[in-house]
Symmetry: C2
Subunit: 436 residues, 2 copies
């Protein structure tokens, strides 16, 4: 490509996040070519861009290079940014690369990858700047000036001689006191911290609730092991939000708008096949009432209304409850209150929609009020079931420590189909003499 030198100059002036955007928009072949040119010219920038691109796509590009080079490149960026990329390389390549990475004081990529996924240990930067508790403010500033390649934002963590976390001090506070002030006198000893095995959602909750810019991570002995910064927390919050949306819709978290069609199909099909089974279950309920339908064919016209409206009401309840749980608004003390409330809303919606539906049926059928009343009763029952199931199922899953969003609307919709058909066709069978 003749334009390459100009292109590279242009790329080198971009922020890594913008470069990642460029990479994600290029077709595969050009993406590979552009990455290969950039990585030769500015390895660090290329790695930063891969980190912004996300571990799956980033690892795909990185895997194009030889193992020795990957190991060298991985050490150009902070360990917590490199670890997810290496973790997503093909297993054999990753093992070779991990052996080639030089050990780092405090731990590097290989050590990070030993922590469980989705924990603070995986998320943290282990190379955190810490000050001894016996220093003065002036000595701390001198130490700071010598610090290289460590994560340091606004908080400076203070440790004792065995590296136990004992305090925190802000950079600003350090500036405002006379140089001979002992750190012990000005540090805050009530430090919010998380453990290496704390779930990333809990890490995000604390950073967000307490408006922190970073949170220190300690091991089981309260020794400082690393720091999680707010930018990592933002990624966690976004990922968890995407997971909520996806799970409610029955989509795998690795699926996305740019996932190749074959892969998306492979990821979505199993879920749809599960739903096909449940759809046939709902259909079998209809099958129980073929005799009734044969006598009053209008039932076939209106039964999807009862089933569908129950599904809609269930989707509303589910969204509110799942999001309420995700945002930490649901506690054991108010879960019961929430159930009663959603039940009432379900009944109210059932009566209101049922009434409008009954009138509509009466008009359409030229005065078949009995059919209208049966539709109304079935809607009250089904919307009440929708509301209570939409509340109880996610709350129950949470009690079982399963992600509440797994109570996908797709699943609950089947439940409301079954109850919709059962209540509408069941009532119609009982009161059939008023319908003919």
């Amino acid at each position: 490509m003749g334009a390459t030198p100009n292109l590279i100059n242009l790329l080198q002036k971009q922020h890594p996040a913008d470069l990642a955007q460029v990479f994600s928009e290029l077709p595969e072949k050009e993406r590979h070519a552009t990455f290969n040119v950039l990585v030769d010219k500015n390895g660090r920038l290329a790695m930063e861009a891969l980190s912004e691109l996300g571990p799956e796509k980033g690892a795909e590009l990185l895997a194009l290079r030889p193992a020795e080079e990957i190991a060298r490149l991985a050490q150009e960026i902070p360990s917590d940014d490199a670890a997810p990329l290496i973790g997503h390389l093909p297993k054999e390549l990753a093992d070779v690369v991990l052996d080639l990475i030089k050990p780092k004081p405090g731990g590097g990529v290989p050590e990070l990858l030993e922590y469980e996924e989705q924990t603070a240990g995986r998320l943290m930067n282990p190379n955190v700047f810490a000050l001894g508790e016996d220093l003065t403010a002036g000595e701390a500033i001198t130490a700071l000036q010598g610090a290289r390649d460590v994560e340091m934002v606004f908080y400076l963590y203070v440790v004792d001689d065995r590296r136990h976390l004992v305090g925190v001090i802000s950079l600003r506070r350090l500036l405002l006191v006379p140089p001979d002030t002992p750190l012990k006198r000005i540090m805050t000893t009530d430090v919010y911290s998380v453990r290496v095995d704390t779930d990333q959602e809990e890490v995000a909750r604390q950073v967000a609730s307490y408006n922190l810019l970073a949170i220190p991570v300690v091991d089981s002995e309260n020794k400082l092991a690393g720091v999680v910064t707010v930018d990592d927390v933002i990624d966690v919050i976004k990922d968890e939000a995407t997971e909520d949306v996806y799970r409610l819709a029955g989509v795998s978290k690795d699926d996305g708008i740019l996932t190749p069609p074959g892969e998306s199909l492979r990821r979505r099909l199993p879920w749809l096949l599960v739903n096909l089974v449940t759809a046939f279950m709902a259909a079998s309920v209809v099958g129980l009432f073929t005799a009734t339908i044969e006598r009053v064919v209008a039932l076939a016209i209106f039964m999807p209304v009862v089933a569908g409206m129950g599904g809609n009401a269930a989707t509303q309840t589910l969204a509110v409850v799942v999001r309420g749980i995700a945002l930490g608004q649901v506690t054991w003390s108010n879960a019961r209150q929430a159930l009663v409330k959603e039940g009432l809303v379900g009944l109210g919606n059932g009566f209101a929609n049922g009434l409008v539906g009954a009138i509509a049926v009466a008009i359409v059928t030229g005065g078949n009020w009995a059919l209208g009343l049966i539709l109304m009763a079935a809607m009250v029952i089904n919307m009440f079931v929708a509301a209570t199931a939409g509340t109880l199922i996610p709350l129950g899953l949470r009690a079982l420590k399963v992600d509440p969003a797994l109570a996908s609307s797709v699943f609950i919709t089947t439940l409301t189909d079954v109850f919709g058909f059962l209540s509408f066709l069941g009532l119609a069978t009982v009161f059939i003499r008023y319908l003919q």
Copy 2:
């Protein structure tokens, strides 16, 4: 209450975010009583807790106090935290309070409330610390030591003599250079900034993409007007995620798990009534085919399978596309690619589910392969429609600058009902002689 002094001592030791959690869990009467006691003892802490509680519930508690006191309390916390609370007071009370608030250099609560909702102007803290461009590093540190009640995190913004934003410098960098270094020599002049009228989603996107701790806000003349910090951005990201989940489910953004039943009912009912109309539209499609159903009643059993599976496939596509748009992964250049991809996935899912469905129908009906093939064909058609509509509708809404999440799954489900019934019953009518 005899326990009050102890209770208050206990409350006073809590972080405002934890106090907010306590408030949200207490029944209304006790919440009011606890707030009234706390506000007398520690007005600032009480206000910080209200700010964490969110503007609606916070303003409800604040409205219990006289206007003079509200005005005084509002000035205990940063203007950007106070503004949403005052903005949610009953209009008359808010007007009285705004008149009582003392003007602040740089602007206070009344000025913030003049910016449009959901813009950087509403979100920013106007009392931002800025350094003159002619200062040295040493003079900057002295200025810093005299600064009170200003938002200052890790970045220090540099302005010219008419307060135009000209550079940024980190607190750390300031510490690392000799005191006589001019700021002009060490500041970064490429500053990411947003304008007062920038949408809050764009503010959040920039802070998140570029891993910033704060972003400066400028007016139309590039004068420094305020700063948005990362904790505000986290709140925006969470709110936008909740809105995505809610809109997809047809729930208003002010609804929630703790909203009183009457209010939830009032907010959800209109949406359900709209859907009732569309459900009757789908029912009327079935109505066109009563003659066919009367001849082959098994069609009534299997028609919900075709409709429902289309709805499930549409929900999956919609979740992926809406979230892809929210995360900024969809551009005009790849929208077409996404449409082709989703269409292929829809066809693939239609064939796979249709095949399994056809076999199931043949088994259940004791060998009615014609019915099975019709179900399969209808599922291919309906899942293809589901996938293309699930992609095109949110992309179209985005082109019209309407929130893509408004293409709620509830709405698209009706579309797949209509196409499901139409394709299945339509094909059955055409090929009816093979079915009997």
